[in-house]
C-alpha cells in the first residue's frame, strides 16, 4: 500500500481525492488479476459443477514453475512464459481427466468433488515446499521497468499498466472465444445443459478437460503477471479467496460478473487499505462475501436466484 502520506485522522479534502484516485487505479490493477482468477473459477464451476478450491494453488504453481524454469533451469523468458502456460494447463487437464472424471463417475457429488480439489491443493502446496524453493519469498525478475506513470494525481508503475492491459486483452480474447468459436460455444452449452449438449454431439469429458486446461492457463498467466510485482511463497494461494469473493460478488455463474466482481474487490481492497487500515484489508473480502450472500445471494450479475429442482 502506498497510502502512508498523511496521518489518517486529519485528512484534507485534497488528500481524500488523491487517495480515491490512487485507490481506484491500484485497485483496477490488482482487481484485473483477481478477475482473471475469478473467470477461471466460474468457468470451471459452470461446466463441471466443481467449485475449485485448488484455484489458488494452481495460481501458485504457475509462479513456481516459472521460477524454477528461470532460476534453476536458467532458461530465458521467451521459453519460460509459453512453457509455464503449457505445463500448468496440461496439469489441470490431466487432473480433470484422471481424478475428477473418476470422482464424478463414482457418483461423487458436491462434497466429494470439493474434497478432491482440496486434495489437489494440499498436494501442490506440499510439492512446492518439498522443492525448497518456497522457503524464502521470491519474485520473478520484471520484464518492464518499475518507472512511475502518473495518471491524474495517482502514481502507478509501468509494470502495473502492463498487468492491467494484458489482463484486459486476455478477457477480450476469452470473450471472443466464448462467443465466436465453436469450442467456446460448446463450453457454454455444457454449462447450460450438459445432457442436451451431449445429445447434439458435444463430448463432455473433452470439453471439461479443455475448460480445466483453460483455467490452468489463466491461472498461470495471472501468476506470471503478478509475481514480478509481489513476493511469492507457497501461501500466496490465499489470493484465491479474493478471486472467490470476486466470483461471488459478481454472481457465481456469470463470467462478466466475475470481471466486475474482480475489479470491485480490487478497488475495495485498496480503498480499505488507504482509508481504514492495512490491517482491515484481510477481512474486507469476507465481509464482501457475507454481505453479498445475505443481501443478494445471486450476486450482481447472477440473474435469478437458483431454485433447486426436486
Amino acid at each position: 500500500m502506498r497510502g502512508t502520506l498523511t496521518s489518517r485522522n486529519n485528512m484534507s479534502l485534497s488528500d481524500i481525492w488523491l487517495f480515491l484516485q490512487q485507490g481506484v487505479l491500484s485497485g483496477l490493477v490488482t482487481g484485473s488479476v483477481y478477475a482473471l482468477l475469478a473467470i477461471a473459477i466460474v468457468a470451471v464451476f459452470k461446466t463441471t459443477d466443481v467449485p475449485n478450491f485448488a484455484q489458488g494453488e494452481m495460481f501458485m504453481i504457475g509462479g513456481y514453475v516459472a521460477l524454477m524454469l528461470l532460476l534453476v533451469a536458467g532458461l530465458s523468458y521467451v521459453v519460460v512464459i509459453p512453457l509455464t502456460l503449457v505445463v500448468v494447463a496440461a496439469g489441470a487437464a490431466l487432473f480433470q481427466r484422471v481424478v475428477m472424471e473418476r470422482v464424478t463417475g463414482s457418483k461423487g457429488v458436491g462434497v466429494q468433488l470439493v474434497i478432491a480439489t482440496l486434495g489437489l491443493a494440499y498436494g501442490l502446496k506440499g510439492l512446492v515446499r518439498q522443492t525448497g524453493l518456497g522457503d524464502t519469498p521470491r519474485s520473478l525478475p520484471s520484464l518492464v521497468s518499475s518507472d512511475a506513470v502518473l495518471i491524474g494525481d495517482a502514481a502507478l508503475t509501468r509494470l502495473d499498466v502492463v498487468i492491467f492491459v494484458v489482463a484486459v486483452v486476455v478477457m477480450v480474447l476469452l470473450y471472443l472465444m466464448f462467443n465466436k468459436t465453436r469450442i467456446g460455444k460448446a463450453m457454454r452449452a455444457v454449462g447450460m445443459n450438459p445432457r442436451a449438449a451431449q445429445i447434439v454431439g458435444i463430448r463432455l469429458s473433452r470439453i471439461r478437460m479443455m475448460v480445466w486446461a483453460m483455467s490452468g492457463l489463466i491461472s498461470a498467466l495471472a501468476a506470471l503477471l503478478i509475481t514480478p510485482k509481489v513476493l511469492i511463497t507457497p501461501d500466496i494461494a490465499h489470493i484465491a479467496i479474493l478471486a472467490y469473493a470476486a466470483a461471488i460478488v459478481g454472481g457465481f455463474t456469470s463470467l462478466p460478473g466475475a470481471v466486475l466482481g474482480g475489479l470491485i474487490i480490487g478497488i475495495l481492497e485498496n480503498l480499505v487499505g488507504l482509508f481504514i487500515s492495512t490491517n482491515a484489508i484481510v477481512v474486507a473480502p469476507f465481509l464482501a462475501i457475507l454481505v453479498t450472500l445475505v443481501a443478494r445471494p445471486q450476486g450482481l450479475l447472477g440473474g435469478k436466484p437458483q431454485v433447486k429442482k426436486v
Binding site: V103, G108, V111, L113, G119, G123, L124, F252, L290, K309
Partner: protein, 336 residues
C-alpha cells in the same frame, strides 16, 4: 441442476446403522476402546497422553460436523470458528472466575450454539455452494477477529491460558485432564448416537434427503437445519472447552480454514452420515496430522494423495460400504 447435494444415494433414511451384525461389532469396538483408554494412563508418557487428549477433542469436533453434514446434509465450513469461540470463552472464564471447568466448557458451548443459531439464520437461506462459501467466509472472518482482538486473544502473540479447575484442584498436566476429557468425549458420543436414533435425527435425515418431501410430511425444514447448525456449533464450542483442559497456550494461527478441512476430511473419509466413520476418521487423521507435524511438506503431499485417492476409489468413505451392503441385504430380505 447445479445442485451440490450430499450423497444422494445414501442408504434409506430409516436404515441408519442398525444392522445387528454391526451393532455387536460396535460393542466390541467400544469395549476395546474402553479397555485401552483405561490402561493408557498407567503405561504411557505425557506426550502420548497429550496426543490422546487431542484426538478426543478431534472426535468431538468430528461428531459436531457429523451432525450438520452427515445428519442434516448441510455443507457448512465454519466449524473452526465455533471451536475457537469455545476455546477463548472457556479460557477467559477460567482466568476471571476460576469456576469448576464444566461451567466454562458449558458456557463456551452455549455461546457457540447461540452464535451458530444466528449465523445459521443468515446462512441457511442459501444452499449448497452458497452455504459453503458463506460459512467459509464467516470462518475466515472469525479467524481475523481472533488475530486482531488483542485485548481478548492476545492477537498474533497468542494467549497463555490459566489452568482449568475443579473445586480447587488445578488441572495442570495431560494426566490430570485425561479422565475428564475421556468422560466428556464419551458423553458427546452418547449424545450423538442418541440424537441420531431419535425422532429428531430421522427428521434431520428426511430433510437431508429432500427438504420438500420433509416439509410435505410436516417437518419444518428450515428450523431443523438451523437447530442442527446450532447443535453442531455447540459441539465445536465444547470441543474448544475440552482443549483448554490440557493446554495452556492458544494461537489463532491454528484456528483457520485448514482445521475445518482437517475435520471435514475426518468426516468424509470416515463416511458421511456414519457416527463410527466420524470417530474412526477423527482418530486416523488426528494421528496423521500430529505425527507429521514436523514434516509439513510431506504431510501436505500425503494429505493430498489420501484425499484424492479416497474420493476416486472410495467416495463414500470407510464406513459407508458396510451400511450400503447392510441396507441392500435388508431390502433383499424384505423382498423375500
Amino acid at each position: 441442476m447445479k445442485s451440490m447435494s450430499l450423497d444422494r444415494s445414501a442408504p434409506a433414511v430409516a436404515a441408519g446403522e442398525n444392522s445387528t451384525q454391526s451393532m455387536s461389532l460396535d460393542r466390541w469396538a467400544l469395549a476395546a476402546a474402553a479397555a485401552i483408554l483405561l490402561v493408557l494412563p498407567f503405561t504411557v508418557t505425557g506426550y502420548v497422553l497429550y496426543v490422546v487428549n487431542l484426538l478426543m477433542v478431534f472426535v468431538v469436533l468430528a461428531l459436531g460436523m457429523h451432525v450438520v453434514i452427515g445428519e442434516a446434509g448441510q455443507f457448512a465450513l465454519s466449524h473452526t470458528a465455533f471451536y475457537g469461540i469455545g476455546i477463548y470463552t472457556a479460557g477467559m472464564i477460567n482466568a476471571a472466575w476460576h469456576p469448576p471447568f464444566f461451567v466454562s466448557i458449558l458456557a463456551g458451548g452455549l455461546l457457540s450454539a447461540v452464535l451458530g443459531y444466528v449465523i445459521g439464520f443468515l446462512a441457511l437461506r442459501m444452499r449448497d455452494i452458497y452455504l459453503a462459501l458463506a460459512t467459509f467466509a464467516f470462518g475466515e472472518a472469525m479467524q481475523w477477529v481472533f488475530l486482531n482482538w488483542e485485548g481478548v486473544t492476545g492477537g498474533s502473540n497468542g494467549m497463555r491460558m490459566q489452568p482449568a479447575e475443579l473445586f480447587g484442584l488445578k488441572l495442570t498436566n495431560d494426566l490430570q485432564a485425561y479422565p475428564f476429557v475421556v468422560l466428556l468425549t464419551a458423553l458427546m458420543l452418547w449424545l450423538t448416537v442418541a440424537l441420531s436414533r431419535s425422532q429428531y435425527g430421522s427428521s434431520l435425515r428426511a430433510v437431508r434427503e429432500s427438504d420438500v418431501a420433509a416439509m410435505a410430511m410436516g417437518i419444518n425444514a428450515r428450523a431443523m437445519k438451523q437447530s442442527a447448525f446450532a447443535i453442531s456449533a455447540a459441539f465445536a464450542g465444547i470441543a474448544g472447552g475440552m482443549y483448554t483442559l490440557f493446554t495452556s497456550f492458544i494461537h489463532p494461527e491454528s484456528l483457520g480454514f485448514q482445521t475445518t478441512i482437517l475435520v471435514l476430511t475426518m468426516v468424509v473419509v470416515g463416511g458421511i452420515g456414519s457416527v463410527r466413520g466420524a470417530v474412526a476418521g477423527a482418530i486416523a487423521f488426528g494421528l496423521i496430522s500430529e505425527l507429521l507435524r514436523q514434516a509439513l511438506s510431506i504431510q501436505e503431499v500425503i494429505y493430498g494423495v489420501i484425499l484424492m485417492g479416497f474420493m476416486m476409489f472410495m467416495p463414500k468413505g470407510l464406513f459407508a460400504d458396510r451400511n450400503k451392503r447392510a441396507a441392500r441385504t435388508t431390502t433383499a430380505e424384505a423382498q423375500r
